[in-house]
Amino acid sequence: MTIVPIIKRDYITKLAEEGKRIDGRDFNHYRKIEIETNVVNKAEGSARVKIGNTQVLCGIKMDIGEPFPDTPKTGVMSTAAEFIPMASPDFESGPPREDAIELARVVDRGVRESQVIQLDKLCITPAEKVWLVFIDIHILDYDGNLFDAASLAALAALLTTKVPVSRFLKELSEKDRASWQERLLELYTIPGVDEVPFGVDEADPKPIKNFPLPMSEPPVSCTAVKINDFVFFDPCFDEEVIADVRLTVATDHKGDIRAMQKGRSGSFSKEEIQKVIKGALDNGQEIRKKLYHSIGK
């Protein structure tokens, strides 16, 4: 550890002993969160999320491709994160490194394992053609807590994504179109898919319109770090670089835990983990409200 972080560490722990943080927040509080959707016209869905000074942009692109052989009726999603040198003096260009890969995989798991995207509804012709969903995360400004900012941006972008049927219609054969239409009608019968007109025009029941990406209730992730014995939620950059250990907890609307990731070389006790989970549930509720508000729900 070089000299500057040691000085910062002293400063941050001294403040913490007095119950304070460097930006004046409570230990459990988040910085101001702003979510803006539909910021990139060329993308199928997009969102810019700011948590304090941290800024992340997520764009969704869709394409048609082959399913994996073991899941012939399931759409395919993939997540990539780029730590572009714009975001921090320490980021370098080149292929993604550890940190970027960990971030992309944590966001990917949060979306994939909770079945946030209903991939089973993105099949066009089984074993031949399915929709591919690409989640690309761009870190624009790095002031700590990328996990929460990136996963929130991914969710907001996915929730505003329109499947670009009209653009790909030319590429679909008669067989594909027939198969797609049949599957669309199936979608109609699923409870909960409800009022959304899934691209079916009543007068001409062909799936030619773009329709919202079928989504389930998403889990929201919250991150805390530990410095000495103090647990801070939503660490800013100065707190994050000196933190001993980090824990991200994703919770769903029912208050259940859907994903966790511990990072850095320190350790937590069971009590501390429970404390983080409690804080993640409380903050998760608030963030979920903001997320729905941003997409007009």
């Binding site: 910021v39 990139v40 016209n41 060329k42 993308a43 997009s46 000074n53 800024q55 942009l57 764009g59 969704i60 692109k61 394409d63 990539a80 780029e82 572009i84 040198p85 714009m86 975001a87 921090s88 003096p89 260009s93 292929p95 690409f134 690309d136 761009h138 624009l140 400004d141 790095y142 002031d143 653009r167 950059f237």
Partner: protein, 244 residues
């Protein structure tokens, strides 16, 4: 497709309603990022571009250092979601070339001799693309350099002219770029008129070239005013904040 698309009517009306000498709408904001030493967000028609400057800082790896002056390293990058069909992340041949010509254009105006062995890093991210991203990128980079306090001889600025349907026009739009006859992006130092960047593809007669070049210079001066306003605005609002 090329033949059946009318890019410009006989009355000189273009597909987006502009006349031949109209430029698309431009919006520039300086100082939008926290970590960067200087930054700029720019919208130019359907283009959305973000530029960030870091430096002057020690150039690494060391063999890139110049003992007499700073190097200017621009990196132009397109987001995967900025185009119709997803672009694979990372540099390709096109972005490497654009990075190079932009670096060279900026190096000409920066007072590099003041910072031996240093590097001034300019990151240009294209978030949403719609023809003319290199001009938008260079224009944004110039504002970000000013925002970072990098000493410069002038504020460089870029704009393109081109030819569609046999007519010379300013600032090609998307279809005009894809199906037009020629594209001529230039960057100038507006104070002296020096040309800092010039590329051309397509087909122009000598007369048409002269006409297009003059038109592009005219476009540059329009954009230059918007750049200056954005910079003034940043310092004015900073001053207002201090007074409060």
């Amino acid at each position: 497709m090329k033949s059946d698309m009318e890019l410009i009517t006989s009355e000189g009306k273009r597909r987006d309603g502009r006349s031949p000498e109209d430029i698309r709408k431009i919006k520039i904001e300086a100082g939008v990022l926290h970590r960067a030493d200087g930054s700029c967000y720019l919208e130019w028609g359907g283009n959305k571009v973000l530029a960030a400057v870091y430096g002057p800082r020690e150039a690494v790896p060391r063999h890139t250092q110049n003992p007499l002056r700073a190097i200017v390293q621009a990196r132009y990058n397109m987001a995967a979601f900025s185009v119709e069909d997803r672009k694979r992340p990372g540099p390709d041949r096109r972005s490497v070339e654009i990075s190079k010509v932009i670096s060279e254009a900026l190096e000409r105006v920066v007072l590099t001799e003041q910072f031996p062995r240093a590097s001034i890093d300019v990151n240009i991210e294209v978030l949403d693309a719609e023809a003319g991203t290199r001009c938008a990128g260079l224009t944004a980079a110039a504002v970000a350099l000013i925002d970072a306090g990098i000493p410069m001889r002038d504020i460089p600025v870029a704009c393109a002219a081109g030819k569609i349907g046999g007519q010379v026009v300013l600032d090609l739009g998307k279809e005009e770029d894809n199906f037009g006859d020629a594209d001529l992006p230039i960057a100038i130092s507006p104070r002296t008129g020096e040309v800092l960047l010039l590329q051309m593809d397509g087909h122009l007669t000598l007369d048409e070239f002269n006409q297009a070049f003059d038109l592009a210079v005219k476009g540059c001066h329009i954009v230059s005013e918007i750049q200056k306003k954005a910079i003034m605005h940043k310092y004015q609002s900073a001053a207002a904040e201090v007074q409060e």
